[in-house]
Amino acid sequence: MTKVLMKGSEAIAEAAIQAGCTHFFGYPITPQNEIPEYMSAHLPEHGGIYIQGESEVASINMVLGAAATGCQVMTSSSSPGISLMSEGISYLAGSELPCVIVNVMRGGPGLGGILPSQADYLQATKGGGNGDYNLMVFAPGNLQEAVDLVQSAWDYAFKYRNPVMILADGFMGQMMEPVEIKEHKTDRGNVESWALGYYKERGNKRSLIKSMNLTPELLEEHNIHLQEKYAAMKKEETMFELVNLDDAELVIASYGTSARIAKTAISHLRNEGYKVGMVRPITLFPFPYEAFDRIPASTKHILDIEMNMGQMIDDVKIATACKYPVSFFGHCGGLAPSVEEIEAECKKILG
């Protein structure tokens, strides 16, 4: 297949279909409505099923039911909708069910705004719902990467039996870019061994999928098992990109659309002789701490750039063990830092 020009939301939806997504349950919310709209039109053409839930709460629980059968199920929403889904997401993680959740972030808190934002970094990586759990969180930097990450998301979801979140922002949902969408064969592993609906295949042994355990020792044991899974993700699955890091005096830490803007600023700054590089986490959980070990001795300062009020900065400080001063630059509420602003901020820091 050659490259086609597609809108981000539609590219994400088509990529999901080409990766074998069979069920989609969702509820309309701006700015991601093109995903459910595309799914409602095209999923049935591929033999799949689209249902519009009565709310985000219902939609994520439809996802839970379908995920419990071991099928490739997906939902998408935007920030306040993800807040409503948090109950179900906690249950999905606790019950160890694979699914893919797309969050096309908008500004918050509360109803906030409808314009692009990265205001859900903490919600996505540190919880949202109750209990000790983590999602795998992928933050694509451009549409092709979004397509590729959506397609591989089920491989990770089934490998770890854990929900995977694609954390995109409104820019990515709305922009048009040429992308190549290939067919992708998802590895669902041995679904029969745990999913609903294989009573006979398991030799008349039922499947029981749950998160509740009223025996404290057993609940602790379950939590330890979940932590072992998260530890394996941290060890095996981190993804990141390093940009012009080798001789950098200033290192930008950024992800998603803000990293894309920063990349342009870096190329301008390099042309002017400023030694600026970047660490771009692609997996926000597991966070690529080891990427920050690659920061060279020449580095004097780290600049965290996001479209929020600095939600990743603590992770950057942990990753660098506070060896460098870390400051924040960004905008929120639907505003993005401009290339010029980033250049000015870098020049100010480098003096």
């Binding site: 349950f25 629980n61 419990a68 059968t69 099928c71 609906g197 999928i209 509740m212």
Partner: protein, 248 residues
């Protein structure tokens, strides 16, 4: 002289288990009827249910079929997800009044309105059992609960919700009936209703809803026998038994 066994402990009822339910609780009767039907239809290997939140949260310990746990009130949404993947399996939810008529009101109405081909079994005992006797959406006017210690006041809490009547106002559902398990004669009818609910699902007739008037001796503060007497005297006049909607 010969002997015929006319009633056995159901096969699909978990072996060697003691339920955690209080003595005389209607949940046990409803569970037993479900097990009898699973045995009679021979559908143990293809029936899937959701464990609700409430007293029946651990019903997977008693009925030997595939189970997934649903958050409070969300079972109809979870069932939708399952049934849309497995149209040939038998999917039923089992929900109490707090679960279905309060926190899960949106999910039940919309699952019914989509005509999901599932069977919903609604246990109404007019109180929150598991959490210790708080007011339910079905608590009767004047009935005392720990969060309405002087009795339910309609000025403050409105009137109890009649779920069968509410759902029967929708076009889509196929079958809606209210039954009781207060006496053997009612329990026999309750089993017939549940049987019809499962049968309709097998025949792909769409959404069926069976409300079972139950009891809560512990939180009502009555003996098991007095509880069912109270149910017949107080609940049945407000929640009349019978069919509210039938496809046929």
């Amino acid at each position: 002289m010969s002997e015929t066994k006319i009633y056995s402990r159901p096969e699909s009822w978990m072996k060697e288990v003691h339920t955690h339910y209080c003595p005389g609780c209607g949940h046990g009767i409803a569970h037993r009827l479900i097990c009898e039907l699973i045995d009679e239809f021979g559908i143990q290997d293809k029936t899937i249910s959701m464990a609700p939140v409430g007293c029946a949260a651990m019903m997977y310990d008693y009925i030997d079929i595939d189970y997934v746990e649903a958050p409070h009130g969300r079972a109809p949404a979870v069932a939708t997800g399952i049934k849309r993947v497995y149209p040939e399996k038998i999917v039923f939810t089992y929900q109490g009044d707090g679960d279905l008529a309060s926190i899960g009101m949106a999910e039940i109405i919309h699952a019914a309105n989509r005509g999901e081909n599932i069977t919903v079994i609604f246990i109404n005992n007019a109180i929150y059992g598991m959490t210790g006797g708080q007011m339910a959406p079905t608590t009767l006017i004047g009935q005392k609960a720990t969060t309405c210690p002087l009795g339910r006041d309609p000025q403050l809490a409105g009137y109890p919700i009649r779920m069968c009547e509410l759902l029967a106002s929708l076009e889509t559902p196929s079958y809606i009936e209210r039954v009781s398990v207060a006496r053997p004669k009612y329990t026999i009818k309750a089993k017939e209703a549940l049987k019809k609910g499962f049968r309709y699902q097998m025949d792909k007739k769409g959404f069926s809803f069976i409300e079972v008037l139950s009891s809560c001796p512990t939180n009502w503060g009555l003996t098991p026998i007095k509880s069912f007497e109270w149910q017949l005297e107080n609940m049945v006049p407000y929640y009349p038994l019978g069919i509210f909607k039938d496809f046929e």
